[in-house]
């Protein structure tokens, strides 16, 4: 039991580390690869939970995470990037150092918060939940500090990774919900992709700073 718990803790920790790696990476291709690594780690974590807690339905979740987010979405985004020709450096709102420090603060916040809220529950679920919340917040942060639309999509997807991890730890999410979330994420990807192409057509760039000019309240 203890060993099972140590390994799931390790995998969740690796996911948090990949979240930090997402914030650190400079190039779009590297960001996508890191995201794929995070999704594969998620699949491993879910599969481990399925095996060690004897809940076979979680294997399906793991399979969805592996195929959709580990392979299909990164490959699709790689193609998008290749078609848009934007493999140069990512523009950011703040520097890497600041982003990492904010990420640390968010991780601390997630832990402090969960220890207050889940006082008295099983410690295993609690730790995993704290890590999952940190990953979700890091996904938010990623969407805030990146200006490039493709990396914002990755931020959104990594947030969703955190949600799945939380659901695994909390022994909650029914399979129907799980499947529908997975597909809505896939649909979100299509919507995002269409938007990215439209933005690009309209503004010749996918730097979302360009959208600010549309508001008309500058100038």
């Amino acid at each position: 039991m203890n060993q099972a718990y140590e390994i799931s803790h390790l995998l969740a920790g690796v996911m948090l580390v990949t979240s930090f790696a997402l914030l650190y990476q400079q190039r779009v291709a590297a960001v996508l690869n890191t995201f794929a690594a995070q999704s594969i780690t998620l699949a491993l974590a879910v599969a481990w939970a399925a095996w060690s807690q004897d809940r076979p339905d979680l294997f399906i979740t793991a399979l969805i995470a592996l195929t959709l987010k580990g392979i299909v979405i990164p490959v699709a985004l790689h193609r998008t990037v290749a078609r848009l020709g934007i493999h140069r450096e990512v523009e950011k709102v703040v520097g890497v150092g600041v982003a990492l420090m904010v990420g640390l603060a968010l991780t601390g916040l997630a832990q402090a918060l969960l220890f207050k809220v889940t006082h008295g529950t099983a410690s295993h679920a609690r730790e995993e939940l704290a890590l999952a919340l940190a990953i979700i917040l890091m996904g938010f942060l990623m969407m805030i500090v990146r200006r490039n639309a493709v990396t914002q999509i990755v931020g959104f997807m990594s947030m969703e990774n955190g949600l799945i991890l939380a659901a695994t730890g909390a022994r909650g999410m029914p399979l129907v919900v799980e499947v529908s979330v997975a597909f809505s994420v896939l649909i979100a990807l299509f919507v995002f992709a269409v938007f990215v192409f439209r933005i690009r057509e309209r503004f010749d760039t996918i730097d979302i700073e360009a959208l600010d000019r549309m508001r008309g309240d500058r100038r």
Binding site: Q3, E6, L10, G13, F20, G97, L100, F115, R126
Partner: protein, 322 residues
């Protein structure tokens, strides 16, 4: 009882001279591995010893306006680094002076040596020395907080800051798969690369680059002074390698109660692990490029972030255990 004391004393002495003896060999292994991977013949493994012997024989040229600090710094740096290197438990955890092998003391010794080196770099007043010193200080201010965080993580896990105690703890619980330890391992490797002026941070093989850090500070040294400083840098490499071994791969190390046989096994295991670590360092140095100086804060920032995460997770695990 007296015989026991003598044996303990001898073992400590063996450790002390062992690190000094093996240091040039470890550097030789790193260079050799690098050379072979680049399809060069490479210098013989014992080149480090020959270099030191050659430097010791040569005359030491000192700039006219050098102060006493410039002349005394090499011996002090060498002494401080040697003491620090001799304190890290290598082949046995229960040595005579293991109560002194505290991680915080280790950081302090190395910090003192670094401060002296930076001062000596600025002493003669050449511009290269100044650049080197200022960069060294920049790296130090980034690496040292990370180092302290790693130390505190280990102290939380093992309940002590004594290196021997930490090693004993990990020998007793070898299967503790802890994410905080994995994180602090990565962080410690980054700190070790930065402190030893290794490749993503500094290039150890050249002193002809504008981006050099360590070599810029010691550019004015020659003869026996240079020999001492070089020996100190070799010792520092051995120190960090054996720190990594002692904290994260202590298997084979003789426990406190072991006799001479246990020590012999420990010595063999330590030597093998040390040279293996040196070979890995060579592979690592060949496979990546040196970083721009202005990206260093980001790189060392990773060490800090990992150290901080490690300590957060260690607290989390602790809170869960209670």
């Amino acid at each position: 009882m007296t015989g026991d004391l003598v044996m303990q004393f001898l073992a400590q002495g063996v450790q002390m001279f062992m690190v000094l003896l093996i240091a040039p060999l470890a550097v030789g292994v790193v260079r050799r591995v690098k050379a072979r991977l680049m399809r060069r013949q490479g210098a013989p493994l014992l080149q480090g010893y020959r270099d030191l012997a050659k430097l010791l024989r040569k005359e030491s040229v000192i700039a006219e306006n050098a102060s006493w600090l410039f002349r005394s710094a090499p011996s002090l740096i060498f002494a401080l680094t040697w003491v620090a290197a001799a304190l890290v438990p290598s082949f046995a955890s229960g040595l005579m002076f293991n109560w002194a092998a505290d991680v915080v003391a280790l950081v302090a010794l190395l910090g003192a040596a670094r401060a002296l080196l930076a001062l000596a770099g600025m002493d003669v007043g050449t511009s290269f020395g100044g650049i080197g010193s200022s960069r060294e200080m920049m790296i130090a201010t980034l690496a040292e907080p990370a180092m302290m965080l790693i130390v505190l993580t280990l102290a939380i896990a093992a309940g002590t800051t004594r290196l021997a105690g930490v090693a004993d703890f990990f020998i007793a619980e070898p299967l503790a798969v802890r994410v905080s330890l994995a994180l602090s391992l990565v962080a410690l490797i980054i700190v070790a690369l930065a402190e030893n002026a290794r490749i993503p941070v500094d290039n150890p093989v050249t002193h002809l680059e504008l981006t050099m850090v360590h070599e810029a500070m010691i550019l004015e040294y020659s003869g026996r002074h240079l020999a001492l400083i070089e020996a100190a840098s070799y010792l520092k490499l051995v120190l960090y390698l054996s720190l990594l071994i002692c904290l994260f791969a202590p298997f084979g190390m003789a426990p406190a109660s072991a006799g001479v046989g246990g020590w012999a096994i420990g010595l063999l295991a330590w030597t093998a692990k040390l040279l293996g670590g040196a070979a890995l360092l060579g592979v690592w140095e060949v496979s990546i490029a040196k970083m721009r100086v202005f990206r260093l804060p980001d790189f060392l920032g990773i060490a800090f972030v990992f150290g901080f995460l490690a300590i957060l997770l260690a607290f989390l695990a602790r809170g869960a255990l209670e």
